[in-house]
Amino acid sequence: MLADLKSALASPRQSLQQVLNFALVLSTAFMLWKSLSVISNSPSPIVVVLSGSMEPAFQRGDLLFLWNRDAGTEVGEIVVYNVKGKDIPIVHRVVRKHVTVPVRDESGSTTPSSPKLLTKGDNNVADDTELYAKGQSYLDQEDLIGSVRGYIPAVGYVTIMLSEHPWMKTAMLGIMGVMVILQRE
C-alpha cells in the first residue's frame, strides 16, 4: 500500500485525474437522478415499497416509477404521499375524490380549490383517515409525491435489507475492503 502512495505522490497529475474521474462518475449519477426528478415533477421519482398494505399487487421490495405531471388525480390511481409533518411516504390507492365548492373571499373572486382525496391500501380494511395528520381528513393534490405508473418486481429488496439491517452495510464495506487489499497482492 505504501508503494502505491509513493507512486501517487510521484505523479500528482495522474492521481488528480483519477480523483476527477471518480467525482465525474458520482456527479453524473447524481445529475441523472435529479433530471429524472425534474422530468417527472416529483421529489422522489423512484420509490421502494416498504409495507405489505398493497398486497398482492405490490410486495415489499418492488420498485415503483412515479409521475407527477397530471393536473388532477382520478379515483383508482395508486399514489404516493407524505403525511403532513412526517417524512414517511405511503403508497395507497385513491378511493374517493370530492370536488369542493370554491371559496369566495372578500373581493368576490373565487380560488379554485383542489379536490379532496381519500386513500386506502388494498390490503387494509379501513381507509387512511387514521394515518393523516391530526385534524386532516382528506389529502390535497399538493400532498402527493406522485402517481404510480409502472413497476419492477423485487429489485428494491437490497435497499430494504440495507436499511433494516445496518450491520449488513458494515459487513459489505468490510468485504469490499478485504477484496481490494487482497486484489493488490
Binding site: 398482492p56 399487487a57 382520478e74 379515483v75 390507492r93 365548492v101 381507509d127 405508473r149 409502472g150 413497476y151
Partner: protein, 261 residues
C-alpha cells in the same frame, strides 16, 4: 485480469443487463395491441336499492354525517384483460355525482375486488404449494382435489377469471361527502372501472392513456349506469331539506338610497 472476482462481476453485469432488457421488452409488448385483441371487456351495472342513513365516521367522533348505502347488480366480462403479463386485475365500482355548481364530479368507490390471474404450473405460487405446502392446507384439502390455484379470489361466482356476476350486491363502503349531506343528491351514476397490474411494466387504467388500446369497452356495455337520485334520509320528514352547501358567511347588509341624486 481474469481473477474469479472479475469473472463474477462480468457475469453479474451481463445477467442484470439481460434481465432489464427482457423486462423492458415485456413491458413494451404488453402495451402495443399485437396480436389484435379478439374481444373487448364489457360491463352492465344497475343500482338496486339505495338508502341514506345517518352515521358516524368512527365510534368516538362527535359529528353525525349522512351515508349512502347503494346496492347494485353487476354483470361484467373482463376476461379479455387477462394477458400473459397480467398479475391481477383490480375492479372497482364508483358512485359519481356532480358538485353543487359546475360539472366537476365527486367520485367515491363503493365496492372493489382483486381478481388474481390463475397461477401457471411453473409459477412461484404453484411451485411453492407443491414443494412447500402449508401444513394447514394439507390437512383441510385431504378429501378435496388438490387445487392448483394458490390464492383465493374475492369475487363471488367466478367460473373463469374476469367474469363477474353479482346480484343485489351489498357495497363494501358506505359513502359520504365532506359537507355531510348525501340525502336527495341528484344525477348520481355508478361506474365500473378496472386497473390491470402487470408482472412487470406499466399499470393500465380503463380511463388512462393505454386503456383504450389495451381494452376499450364494448359498445353499449361501457359499465356506466343510468343516473338516479339519492332518496331522503331514512325516517326523516320529507320537507326537512338541509342547505346542501354547508355554512356560508352571511352577506353584508346592503343599503340602497331612497332617492337618486
Amino acid at each position: 485480469m481474469h481473477s474469479s472476482l472479475n469473472r463474477l462481476q462480468t457475469t453479474f453485469g451481463f445477467f442484470s443487463t439481460c434481465a432489464f432488457t427482457l423486462a423492458g421488452i415485456i413491458a413494451v409488448l404488453s402495451l402495443i395491441p399485437i396480436p389484435t385483441p379478439t374481444s373487448q371487456p364489457s360491463a352492465v351495472i344497475k343500482p338496486r336499492e339505495v338508502q341514506v342513513v345517518k352515521g358516524r365516521p368512527h365510534y368516538y367522533s362527535a359529528k353525525r354525517e349522512e351515508y349512502a348505502h347503494i346496492r347494485f347488480d353487476l354483470d361484467a366480462d373482463l376476461s379479455p384483460l387477462f394477458t400473459w403479463n397480467t398479475k391481477q386485475l383490480f375492479v372497482y365500482v364508483t358512485a359519481n355525482y356532480p358538485a353543487q355548481k359546475g360539472n366537476d364530479q365527486s367520485e367515491s368507490v363503493i365496492w372493489d375486488s382483486i381478481i388474481p390471474a390463475t397461477a401457471t404450473p411453473w409459477s412461484w405460487q404453484s411451485l411453492k404449494s407443491t414443494y412447500f405446502p402449508d401444513k394447514k392446507s394439507l390437512r383441510v384439502s385431504k378429501n378435496k382435489n388438490k387445487n392448483k390455484r394458490g390464492v383465493e379470489s374475492t369475487t363471488t361466482a367466478l367460473s373463469k377469471p374476469g367474469k363477474i356476476n353479482l346480484k343485489n350486491q351489498k357495497p363494501k363502503y358506505q359513502i359520504t361527502d365532506p359537507s355531510g349531506i348525501m340525502a336527495q343528491r341528484q344525477n348520481v351514476t355508478l361506474q365500473v372501472s378496472w386497473n390491470v397490474q402487470p408482472w412487470v411494466g406499466a399499470l393500465v387504467w380503463d380511463n388512462g392513456y393505454f386503456g383504450g388500446r389495451v381494452g376499450s369497452w364494448k359498445n353499449g356495455r361501457t359499465g356506466r349506469s343510468k343516473s338516479f337520485d339519492l332518496p331522503a334520509l331514512k325516517g326523516s320528514k320529507p320537507e326537512a331539506v338541509k342547505d346542501p352547501e354547508g355554512p356560508r358567511t352571511p352577506k353584508a347588509a346592503e343599503g340602497k338610497p331612497i332617492t337618486d341624486i
